[in-house]
Amino acid sequence: MSTNNYEPRIVVFACNWCSYAAIDLAGTSRKLYPPNVRVIRVMCSGRVDPQFVLEAFKNGADGVIVAGCRPPSDCHYINGNIKALRRFTLFKRLLEELGIEKERFRLEWISAAEADKWVRVVNEMLEELRRLGPLKAEAVSV
């Protein structure tokens, strides 16, 4: 694959109350960022099952972001973000063991006001993904 026209694809799981609102705010404030992200809304980052992230990678996502409210207490559901923190801290360990670059997964706390942070996270991740190249499932003939 030629890396010149490689456009990384990022799947984002964003909690309804903080991160999704921040992404909305980025739009409302016309803060431009590259269109490589696809956002899936969940009520809370605590809803994000690691299986979803694996499914995203399996289907060709080059990067995945799970975004939630800032700990300890922004979470609309008291501590759903903490549940996400626990799961994805372990999840990062798994990726590391399996040899998948850590840059491909991010757990980010983005409050409803942090449109800038959203834009920065997207740009940073894109830059890293461009450097890494595609995460592509290769067919192996047996």
Binding site: N5, E7, R9, V11, N16, Y20, A21, I23, D24, L25, A26, G27, T28, R30, K31, L32, Y33, P34, P35, N36, R38, V39, I40, R41, V42, M43, C44, G46, R47, V48, D49, Q51, F52, E55, A56, N59, G60, A61, S73, H76, Y77, I78, N79, G80, K83, R87
Partner: protein, 648 residues
């Protein structure tokens, strides 16, 4: 059974807000090619009356059973479009929105790329929409009855407000009288007395037919869900009934004498006693723990008001909500802390308040150790702000103000007494600052300490040694009396309360509210409300205010006569569930418990308590727990659709 999906896609131009950056026609054409999509339209303002009418017409014309609207953020118009499809006869949760404005046209400059992204967003929405199910917000009728736990100022105020609003209120107090700690507080700001405040509130309660007071009573069981809790109240025997006219003959004959907790141990009382002047109900009471049932009081009572055979009784109540207003305990210094317990003239602020109160053991005279002290000192932050090993980590909020009120009172009554206040910071916040000014004017001597002072007992009396920072020298202050301005701590019996009510406590040990800033009187468990110092130190005004606020929150829950559940609650497949309990401990609202079904223990979601975060579904190891509207297969479908097409 879920119907075969028939999806209609409606794409909004939002004037040129979307249309300028997204080729809406191309997106609409693309949508037609997606599985399950029957029709696809684009229109200039989908949220307008015309746009909504278009959606309704198409639903009817094509028998659509799912709708995707690609427009602005769902936070903007999801309610609008839900209402629209509902009016066309669809369940309103059969709507999925694709956010092609905030997340697309407004955020990207390249029209081609934005159009491609919009297609993806529509594809993701269609994928999820195809798997959406109709959801119902269940409704439960509610009991217009409220249980208020705790008869202090916060609980009384909550009870009054609730009763005036029209609710039926059970006010349950563990002690034999209403009033709580405020009744013993003595002087307050504006020259008011705690006893008067309590008296005013009690008068309002007595006048109100909607309030049922149970003293000497406690909550022993609590279950159910918001709007329909079951509460079991145990009313302990008082042994004295309404025939009592407070003549006091019984008290004279009673042979048992114990320390009087209503004077913080400064005086003694009998086993049969009347707590204080304003106590309610105005009836004597026998302290079951110390009474030997000798029968002397029965003999003494001319009115036949005493029945030593009285038994406790239990009440089963069906209540819509509970207000927990059980208050706090004063910090009790361990023996030796600032020489507490080593000298009779070392007392706590709570005891001093009794001494200065006209209803107190000295009728308001400052007599400590048999004499009026010439020099008296206060040490602040006793038990608070980490000053000593056994003290708490927090500031107790009310002690500075209370100390200054009493210091000023002493100066007013006994201008010749030297009053010292040893402090770290004087926290007379807000308008209470005037007290600080007044105390200064009345020549109260303030000494700031960085390191807590030490107190020594010598043959001559009490000596306080403190490093005085401004002169940078250790100074000794001999005093005749020392008042320890102790703070507030969680009640000793709080753990029982937590176990019964499913409330929880925070790091400081006080009961935790759902959100410190914006929901200070609501517990995380829906239907449980918190008033007064049970959530942390508060003064009397603040506690009363919290009582009213809790009443307001109760009314927000019960005023409609019914409670509605969240649509996006969790739901258990009981056949699949193994009862592994992983979900139970994770639920922030304690909405999940185990219950027996066909001889097996399986998870059970109390829908009325579930707030719909989905954390249980994410953790459920067997996939038995699924969140409505955010089921695994629905989200997975979005994931697959999100990754399904290439960008350019």
């Amino acid at each position: 059974m879920i119907q075969e999906p028939r999806v209609g896609v409606f794409i909004c131009h939002c004037g040129h807000n979307i249309a300028a950056k997204v080729d809406v026609k191309q997106v609409a054409d693309y949508a037609k090619t997606l599985p399950n999509v029957i029709v696809s339209h684009h229109y200039v303002f989908m949220c307008s009356t015309v746009g909504q009418e278009l959606i309704r017409e198409e639903i009817k014309k094509h028998n659509l059973n799912r709708v995707v609207v690609a427009a602005c953020s769902p936070s903007m118009h999801e309610p609008t479009f839900r209402t629209a499809i509902e009016s066309a006869g669809l369940n309103k949760y059969l709507l999925e929105m694709a956010n092609i404005r905030e997340h697309c046209s407004w955020a990207h400059s390249d029209k081609e790329a934005a159009t491609e992204k919009a297609k993806d967003l529509v594809r993701m929405a269609v994928a999820k929409a195809s798997l959406l199910e109709p959801l119902e917000e269940e409704e439960f009728p509610v009991s217009p009855t409220v249980l208020v736990l705790g008869g202090g100022v916060a609980g009384m105020r909550a009870a009054i407000d609730l009763a005036e609003w029209g609710f039926n209120v059970y006010l349950v107090e563990k002690n034999p009288t209403l009033g709580g700690r405020a009744a013993l507080t003595g002087w307050l700001t504006n020259n008011r007395r705690g006893a008067d405040v309590v008296n005013n509130l009690i008068n309002k309660i007595v006048d109100n037919k909607n309030i049922h007071v149970f003293t000497n009573a406690e909550l022993v069981e609590f279950s159910g869900f918001p709007g329909n809790f079951k509460a079991k109240i145990k009313v302990n025997p008082r042994f004295v009934n309404e025939k009592c006219i407070l003549c006091g003959e019984c008290e004279i004959e009673c042979p048992i004498e114990v320390s009087n907790e209503y004077q913080y141990g400064l005086s003694r009382r009998k086993a049969i006693f009347f707590p204080f002047k304003a106590a309610y109900p105005p009836i004597y009471v026998i302290d079951q723990r110390v009474c030997i049932k000798c029968g002397e009081c029965v003999k003494a009572c001319q009115y036949g008001a005493i029945n030593l055979a009285e038994q406790s009784l239990t009440l089963d109540l069906n209540v819509g909500a509970i207000v927990i207003a059980t208050g706090y305990d004063p910090y009790h210094p361990p023996k030796g802390e600032y020489a507490y317990g080593l000298h009779n003239n070392i007392i706590t602020l709570f005891q001093l308040e009794r001494l200065l109160d006209e209803d107190g053991p000295t009728q308001g005279k400052l007599i400590i150790g048999g004499a009026v002290p010439k020099r008296i000192a206060f040490i602040l932050c006793v038990g608070s702000r980490n000053t000593t090993p056994s003290s708490k980590n927090y500031c107790s909020r009310m002690c500075c103000t209370s100390t200054l009120i009493n210091a000023i009172k002493i100066k007013e009554k006994y201008p010749d007494i030297d009053v010292y206040v040893l402090y770290q910071d004087i926290n007379t916040y807000g308008n209470d600052e005037t007290l600080y000014e007044q105390a200064g004017e009345k020549l109260v001597k303030f000494i700031k300490f960085e390191k807590p002072p030490t107190v020594d007992i010598s043959p001559e009396g009490i000596v306080i040694d403190v490093y005085e920072t401004t002169i940078q020298e250790e100074i000794s202050i001999p005093v005749d009396a020392l008042v320890l301005s102790v703070g507030m701590v969680p009640r000793r019996d709080q753990n029982e309360l937590i176990a019964t009510t499913r409330a929880s406590c925070g790091e400081d040990g006080f009961i935790r509210e759902v959100h410190l800033k914006l929901n200070p009187v609501e517990a995380p468990t829906h239907g449980i409300f918190l008033a007064g110092a049970v959530t942390g130190p508060k003064n009397i005004i603040e506690s009363i205010r919290a009582g009213s606020a809790a009443a307001s929150k109760v009314a927000t829950l019960l005023s409609e006569g019914k409670v509605r559940t969240e649509p996006f609650t969790a739901n258990v497949n009981e056949e699949r569930c193994s009862g592994c309990r992983i979900c139970v401990g994770l639920c922030p609202y304690k909405a999940i418990s185990l219950r027996e079904i066909n001889d097996r223990m399986v998870a059970y979601v109390e829908r009325a308590l579930c707030m719909g975060c989905g954390t249980c579904s994410a953790a459920c190891p067997s996939g038995a727990m699924q969140q409505y509207g955010f089921k695994d297969i629905q989200i997975m479908a979005q994931v697959v659709a999100a990754t399904g097409g290439g960008i350019k």
